[in-house]
Subunit: 374 residues, 4 copies
């Protein structure tokens, strides 16, 4: 039974702000290691500690949201009543990521010379050892074999056993990428009644290209050379689409690491993007979009982090002996997780070129309640 | 027929970036009025002009989005296929408002002493004369009679005829608030089959309060005085709810300016907030939430603006003879448009206290396609 | 002796990231109180806890910076070598405040209905009990008697003894406002050799007004009525300045709470603002500007907080029984600390109207090294 | 003579907000090219136009600030009274850059499918043709030969003659990088009286390394192998420093493009960073820091831009036939302008390891007024 705010509580149960938030622990958890010549710690080490603690708190929150979304997507069927919640939680992660980017601006108020006052004391600790960040990467779907090798060692080599075990567990569980892939593959609308999405999309693309070829060849304003150059460009575009239309070519690309989602999941994602206005596809579309943004902000954060490392220590090795700036730049490009969704932009075609959906399909994609009969 | 990027164009139609954006006009539209003793304009007047021009560009964009949403809501029925679009456009307005808030930080790099170098030349021009901002307020739903009087005159007294006419037109057309109110009133789900929302909600509230009263009176840990104090508090809460349950009391409150939405629209909004997970109510819930945020950011912007006026000119009158800081503070509190949605938080009850919906109602609030029969 | 990064350390001293940041404490300090019907805590309570913990970490950092600035300003003379550091630390506080404002956007992803799932369990805990925030206010210079009374009680009534004692200590120690006031009063440049700032400024103001009166009266384009109206306006401005030129009127204003700085400190602040380009006055000017911005962002934060309270709980009382929105709006206006610096904008005059400084004074305000003799 | 706000103006000179800001031009400068099947332009093209126009307005403002700083640094001596202003203007550029980054979030509300509705009409226009952005790069100091080649052509190949000429002029004029280099080279404090900075810094570095070698070799906790590994690492660091201490090695590095500043300018920058607290070096230090941040934000902006291009068009070529994402990623790494200042972090040593300055030098770096004799 729900309790209302009026429900009286015995005084002994009165909640005190500082106790509720465990401030006695939280505000005593900053232990600078530096000692300057006057015996006091370097002033800026406090900022260094607190900014990293704030990051770790936010990582915990991000994992909390992520886990709840993953639990939802682990079920055989994702309840439609919970899609809005899943999207809202991913959107919350996005807001937190934006905040974490802004947090870099606070870190930038620390000058290299001030960092020098205590950075040697921290050796070999390094942000590289943030196990929550590694769990986050694993949960999202970054595979050990996709990681940029780090001093020829595994990414978790410098972590202690306890944390390494947590990470390996996360490696072995289905990632969000995999759960979303399965969910996409289950989409019932790829072939639905008289409607075959892939066929219909493919025909629309062909019609589009044939029209282009026709317009190019018959254009009185173009000389023979220009016509050829345009036709060559068109041919190039056709072969890009061929990597999508041929399952074989797709799988080759996938084998080379150029795609991560299964062929069927890719089709479903394209369906959702192209028909996002239909009620039943709208939240799935928002979900795909949110995953794409999470990935983009993660890589942006890596970049800001790399710039910051460079600004703080120049070309020296990082505090944990990391290769610093160069290493981070590499991870930025290679550690994309939901990059497939971005690639799909390549294959979008104008809505006006899409064939209309059969009425029955339209109805099935809508709400049960479709207004008063008129 | 859609054109693909491969469609060749005659060279004469090649689009040039600077032409497309009309940069010749745009970048020549800064005409400082100041002349310092050395004949040059005051350096910071350029910032002053450009920052206001950027605001006006964004106001145009906000109006563009707003108009498209209003067009949609002007129709007798809002198509479910377009709700996602309506919400996305309001959410875009929110991103623009956040940007406009950030823009204040750029303005804050201008110091009062630098503003003094040219502010007298601007007299009596003033941001008060931004007709796009006034149109925005009118379109959203701020009524002339709700505006804080300004020097005993109308808010558009200092505008020229052309702009005043545009504003008066906007005053006379249905505002977004009114369109949304009508849309809410049309909600078919307030009484639906065997389900009567208002009845069911009201009973849930009563049950909640009765439980509270029972728990208070029978609490062995409380003395007579404490029990009375808790019961008084409960009584106060009950009378707050009475302003909602009695249509008469609601209308009194409305007549005093305490509410802007009709009684029926308020009920519908509450239904949407309480049952937001149901597919057909999810985008309506996002819409209400977005309108609430637009309003909140508008008032935050007013506040940052007021602070800025105070910082730049102290207690002097504004450049347009406006009363400056004090006036702006007043508008902040009085010029809320979608405040009713915030008030509704007062009347939310825990989901666990809500009666379950009949199966038939649940189905009607869901999608037509409800999965494979199992 | 400084240690270089190459200095080897015994393995036992190797620093581990998670230990350094006390992550065992930090990441175990979230204890939700809610239990939903399924036995799990309400999902959003984690966000509620973490966001408040992040705020408290940042408050600690702000206090760390503030304390270091106050220590500096407690000395009989503030070393010129440390002014840059003092300014940089205040500017860091500003970056943190901006971040804390952004953090509101994360909180806004929590919906009132989700808050309802656990808010009653928190009673009577409330952000009102954040003792670090109260210490911050006290250190900056908010006096108990200036605080908006809260349920007729003191602001620290709901805190426990330990925290109340810390706060009372902070009340009794000199605040930053007082330390800055003393520092301003010590400025040697108000009367310096042949230069008397106050005299010279006052004459410049008089000359400016006399010129205005002359131009008004002799303006052939103005009718008698217009001339009178302009002269009345000028007279009003003159009486505003009279509150500055008459020490008696100034002290009256101060007695009524209209000013917080001493007369002498106000003069010094005005000197600094008007002659900010001179090397020795530049960092003092940046300091005043930074204090002004800190105050402005503090009040903006109060406002966003008030809006948020309103959005979350409507017109109900806050979790700590606070009067919520209305109370917070009041504090916003009354709890300004460095408002005097904003008021000074009223008394700035164009640089061109300031008399030139005697050469000797110019030199004294410059660097010792003034370039090669030419 | 300064005019006060009371100075009456003839009515004909009354300034009107819309005229002052040229709103008739500004708000009529959006001409969408798209026509959907219903004859209306694609809704999102307005956003596309306005967001680019807002960028161009801000570019103009950035150039306005930059030009004023460059004018100042073009003089044979930079007046100490104007250093504060120069720094403030660079800091304003930084605020604008932060705003431009935020603006990306507004652009992200546009979906690839919506962009598709009008992107083909824009061909071959492209942000690549923003001549203001190219001027900005040129003015800061990006040389044509340092630019990543673009389709084997010059970066300005697609611009029209008028814009190309403006750009080539900007190429030929001294850049901010060059002006700052000259200014650094003029620093009188490298050898000053009995103080030789380079000598003193070099000795401090040697002492530091010798101490390290001593501590490594005599460490009883280390085995022979560990000792060797530490000594190897130390030797590597010594050779990094050798590229700084040997003018010849420095110039080699410079010839390979690894350094852009002259040897002397680099020394001066290091002096400023190491002794930034001294009054006469404080604003120079802030200037270096600001230039470094401008460069960092420019490269961050490139990155966000690249991500956005990828999100909008996948692997297709950009609207102007640009190579899109890959090209932009390359420019990000290669188009750094003030990277030398970041590299200097490599050569910072703890303040405690720096020799004390002779009293006379200390005095020369301070203010003329050094307090009352005591």
């Amino acid at each position: 039974m729900a309790e209302s705010p009026e429900t009286p509580k015995p005084a002994s149960k009165a909640v005190y702000y500082a106790d509720y938030l465990k401030l006695d622990y939280l505000l005593e958890a900053q232990h600078p290691l530096s000692k300057l010549s006057d015996g006091a710690p370097a002033h800026d080490e406090m900022l260094f500690i607190i900014i990293h603690q704030a990051y770790e708190l936010w990582f915990k929150q991000v994992l909390h949201e992520l886990d709840s979304v993953m639990t939802l997507f682990s079920k055989p069927t994702v309840s439609e009543d919970q899609m809005g919640m899943a999207v809202a939680r991913l959107e919350r992660i996005i807001e937190i990521q934006r905040l974490m980017l802004m947090q870099m601006q606070v870190l930038q108020t620390m000058q290299p010379l001030d960092f020098l006052d205590f950075r040697d004391q921290l050796y070999p600790a390094s942000g590289f050892q943030s196990f929550q960040f590694r769990i986050l990467e694993n949960r999202l779907g970054l595979k050990p074999e996709q990681r940029v090798p780090y001093h020829q060692g595994r990414y978790d080599a410098s972590l202690d056993d306890r944390h390494r075990q947590i990470l390996q567990k996360a490696e072995n569980e289905p990632s969000l990428l995999e759960l979303v892939e399965k969910w996409l593959e289950r989409t019932p609308f790829l072939t639905f009644g008289s409607f075959d999405f892939w066929d219909s999309y493919r025909q629309a693309v062909e019609t589009l290209f044939d029209g282009d070829a026709e317009r190019i060849s018959s254009n009185p304003l173009l000389g023979a050379e220009d016509i050829q150059s345009h036709l060559d460009r068109l041919a190039a575009t056709r072969s890009t689409f061929a990597t999508l239309f041929s399952e074989e070519q797709y799988q080759e690309l996938q084998a080379q690491g150029g795609r991560r989602l299964s062929y069927k999941a890719t089709k479903a994602a394209l369906l959702i993007l192209l028909y996002r206005e239909r009620p039943i596809l709208h939240l799935p579309y928002r979900l795909i979009n949110a995953l794409s943004t999470v990935d983009e902000l993660l890589t942006t954060w890596r970049y800001r982090h790399a710039l910051n490392v460079q600004r703080m220590i120049g070309v020296k090795v990082g505090t944990g002996g990391s290769m610093g700036y160069e290493y981070l730049l590499h991870t930025m490009a290679k550690h994309r997780i939901f990059g497939d969704f971005n690639q799909l932009s390549t294959f979008l075609i104008p809505r006006s070129a899409l064939p209309e959906l059969p009425d029955e399909v339209e109805r099935q994609l809508g709400f049960y309640y479709q207004g008063e009969p008129t």
